[in-house]
């Protein structure tokens, strides 16, 4: 699928197709291509994909069903006041769209995803399902000791699924590939922040989503190809404002919502969409113990997001303010899924800090199947105008 002369349109078409494919045909074909291959699904926000890759498995990002899937069975499992991602994930499961998946990882995000891990055990007893609990204590000797052992148990679970031993060198090799992936992702983000008219977020978003569903080496090549192709595009620079999106780290907005924000006069220059590939902010060391390296990087060099405790009160929101400054954003749209405890409980705190730092913001809620974009366009457009006029 890679090629030096691919255009932006070619690359985006491939990504868009993967993004829209709720039968996960790429992953099915990947699995069928070689006997014994396994696919491990993972939900937002963070899982150590290196270890899944080191086990010879394809990590497959499961971000719910989006706006294209009608949820029929999934609604029977949840009350009206629960967000949509667990119900559409269940819909994917009960409609056999995930029948080829050998394991599911439910990282710590909130109580809903946490409880979904147990529901999966009941519904799909033959699928290895793992609740992956990252530490909230960030001291190497306390949270780190705990986390290294959790990573060992995670590795052992995958060994059980695959029937193969995962060596330290296997993890190191995979870590190198994921380091490259993270570096390239950061480069794409920096490229977009610098010239957002060349890399609209409606493209970057599907590029990232597809990357969480495909082989990492293939995605690495694709990221390079995209940057080369995008840099060669002749796209006009518009009189848009530059905004950052926060609060969208778990249930994802429909692509039309992203497009609507852009059409309303906003360049999205930073975001926390499908955060997995940016969760660790530096390279994971590839010398020494690979699990300790993963642990230390998580403890010391990972993003601030709502599912992580911020130990020092003064640090709350610092990450967001730094991200706004680094990306040159002029304002923030705090866009969060309805009924999302982490984002909604964090919202007043993060927004206070933005306000204190003189960063304008607006906030609204969405669902992955939100259909009415006119209010979003109006709100984002008004926000853009207000920044142009008064900031």
């Amino acid at each position: 699928m890679s090629g030096k002369n691919r255009t932006v349109a070619d690359i985006v078409a491939v990504c868009q197709e993967m993004y829209e494919d709720l039968n996960f045909n790429y992953a099915r074909k990947w699995k069928a291509a070689q006997a014994g291959r396994k696919v491990i699904g993972f939900l937002p926000v963070y899982s150590p994909l290196e270890i899944i890759h080191a086990a010879g498995c394809l990590p497959l990002g499961i971000f719910g069903g989006g706006d294209a899937m009608e949820v029929i069975h999934g609604d029977a499992y949840y009350q009206s006041y629960i967000c949509r991602i667990p119900r559409s994930t269940i819909e994917l499961g009960v409609t056999n769209r995930l029948d080829f998946v050998d394991g599911m990882v439910f990282p710590f995000v909130c109580d809903v995803i946490r409880n979904l891990s147990g529901m999966w055990k009941i519904m799909f007893p033959n699928v290895w399902s793992k609740f992956f609990d990252t530490p909230q204590n960030f001291d190497s000797s306390i949270g780190g000791t705990y986390y290294v052992q959790e990573l060992k148990e995670f590795k052992e679970g995958l060994e059980h699924v695959t029937g193969r031993t995962i060596s330290d060198d296997d993890i190191r090799r995979s870590t190198k590939l994921y380091n490259e992936n993270r570096r390239l992702v950061r480069e794409v983000y920096a490229f977009r922040a610098k010239q957002p008219w060349l890399a609209p977020t409606s493209e970057v978003y599907v590029l990232m989503r597809a990357g969480l569903m495909m082989d990492v080496e293939e995605h690495n090549q694709m990221l390079k190809d995209y940057m080369a192709a995008a840099a060669a595009e002749d796209r006009p620079k518009r009189d848009n404002v530059r905004i950052a999106i926060f609060g969208s780290f778990c249930e994802q907005p429909p692509l039309n919502l992203i497009k609507s924000i852009e059409m309303a006069g906003c360049y999205i220059v930073d975001d926390d969409y499908s955060l997995n590939n940016r969760f660790l902010t530096v390279d994971v060391p590839t010398d020494g113990d690979p699990l300790e390296a993963l642990s230390e990087t998580y403890l010391k060099h990972s993003v601030e997001t709502s599912c992580k405790y911020v130990p020092v009160e003064e640090d709350k929101g610092k990450f967001h303010i730094a991200a706004v400054k680094a990306s040159g954003a002029e304002g923030v749209i705090y866009a969060t899924p309805s009924f999302c405890d982490p984002a909604l409980l964090d919202r007043p705190m993060v927004c206070h800090r933005l306000s204190d730092a003189g960063i304008p913001y607006i906030a609204f809620k969405y669902a992955e199947n939100s259909g009415q974009m006119q209010p979003i366009r109006e709100q984002a457009g008004t926000f853009a105008d207000s920044i142009k006029l008064w900031s």
Partner: protein, 432 residues
């Protein structure tokens, strides 16, 4: 016209006095010089706090108090006005709204600012954000104790070691610093010994729900029975005495073949339906809610809410010989820290052990920790036991989400379904 005063047993009066003394201890901290901590019910480290002479204030309980006094609705709306979402936990919003309204304790005196936020993060994500929010207001030290979730249905040595290490290296030094009191592990052992004694009596009382008629109501009465152990009194001699008194009362009812005392002062002897209830109660309309049950002859013989502060009936006891490890095990084993399959198994066991007619779920809008997955819990428990389940929806302390007519209708349908089942009608179970 105001409702008549609820008739209370001696143990309830004793508990009321204990709670009143604790509120007085909290609100008089400036006079006494005692330090005050805020903390949560699940994973409550009361014995440890007592080792530092720290008074234990529980925002969840304050929210319940506000709910029962019909004050919570106003507090919640106050918090929503300041940017807190209508979607999130109403305990949090009640607490925050109360702050903006003078933060008055039930004794009429203002709550002082806490000296430490003891963030025992057990079984509920919201706890973490709640105390991040309070920390912004109070600017006091926050001690985080991360209790991993039992995702695979059991705790591990790694989880236990992690908690013990946090206790040794974060919580205890932090409490020493706040209080100026040096930690004495023998003092902790002494409190844990008292805890275990009270826990024995609590378990005895809860297990009497197996009798017919049941001398207890394990939900509406149960919230009183668990009060001292789940809050600021576990490890105290007061709690030991309370549970001795409670046990004697329950024993007396057994001897007289009596059911529990209702708030109207009558013994609930005519028990037609025996229920297991999952989920917390509604607090804003607590008596009205309770009355819907006893008016229909429904007694709750066991509940999961009485396990949020520990599953003592499954054998756990605080252990003075392994004090910190025992606190770790306690935190790990609280009900909402158990995975869904474990919760299903526990509830199905209760249905069988307590010879219940079925499982009723009171699903709470505010509480995803409890509520997410409850529809599956109901189906699974029905499947395992062959007895019908039912589902009602209310909230903790937001009166906007208590619809009496709706709840009553569903309960009546459920009782009809149980009747039908008893008559042998209907081959399959359907949720109300």
């Amino acid at each position: 016209m105001s409702k008549p005063e609820a008739i209370k047993e001696a143990s309830m009066e004793m508990q009321k006095q204990m709670i009143a003394r604790n509120y007085d201890a909290i609100t008089s901290k400036h006079e006494t010089g005692r330090k005050v901590s805020s903390t949560f019910v699940p994973g409550n480290l009361n014995e440890l706090l007592m080792c530092f002479d720290i008074v234990n204030n529980l925002p969840e309980i304050n929210a319940i108090q506000a709910g029962m006094r019909k004050a919570s609705g106003g507090y919640i709306m106050e918090a929503e006005k300041t940017g807190h979402s209508e979607d999130v936990c109403t305990y949090v919003k009640c607490d925050i709204g109360q702050m903006t309204k003078g933060n008055i304790a039930p004794n009429g005196k203002p709550y002082p600012n806490p000296d430490v936020l003891m963030l025992s993060y057990t079984g509920c994500y919201t706890f973490m954000k709640w105390f991040e929010l309070l920390r912004e207001e109070y600017k006091c030290p926050t001690l985080m104790l991360h209790v991993p979730y039992e995702g695979d249905g059991h705790s591990t040595q790694n989880m236990r070691d992690y908690i013990v290490k946090q206790l040794k290296e974060v919580v205890i030094p932090g409490l020493e610093q706040v209080s100026g009191v040096k930690f004495d592990i023998d003092r902790l052992r002494q409190y844990l010994r008292a805890s275990a004694k009270a826990e024995d009596d609590l378990v005895w009382c809860l297990e009497q729900g197996k009798k017919k008629p049941s001398p207890i109501d394990a939900y509406f009465g149960g919230v009183y029975y668990i009060g001292p152990i789940f809050t600021a009194f576990r490890g105290t001699e007061d709690a030991v005495k309370y549970y001795e008194m409670l046990r004697a009362e329950v024993q007396g009812r057994i001897e007289n073949h009596q059911g529990p005392l209702t708030p109207e002062g009558t013994y609930f002897n005519d028990q037609k339906y025996r229920l297991i209830v999952e989920g917390p109660p509604n607090w804003t309309n607590f008596r009205e809610f309770w009355k819907m049950f006893y008016d229909e002859g429904a007694i709750v013989v066991a509940s999961s809410y009485t396990k949020v502060g520990g599953l003592y009936d499954r054998g756990f006891r605080h252990d003075p010989d392994n004090p910190l490890e025992s606190l770790a095990d306690y935190c790990l084993g609280c009900y909402t820290n158990l995975n869904l399959p474990t919760r299903v198994d526990l509830l199905a066991e209760y249905v069988e052990e307590y010879e219940a007619d079925g499982l009723l779920i009171n699903s709470i809008k505010s509480c995803n920790s409890f509520s997410a997955g409850q529809l599956m819990i109901m189906k699974e428990v029905e499947r395992k036991t062959g007895r019908p389940g039912a589902f009602i929806e209310t909230d903790l302390v937001d009166p906007r989400y208590f619809s009496a007519a709706n709840v009553k209708n569903r309960l009546e349908s459920y009782f009809q379904m149980i009747e039908q089942k008893r008559r042998g009608g209907g081959s399959k179970t359907v949720a109300a």
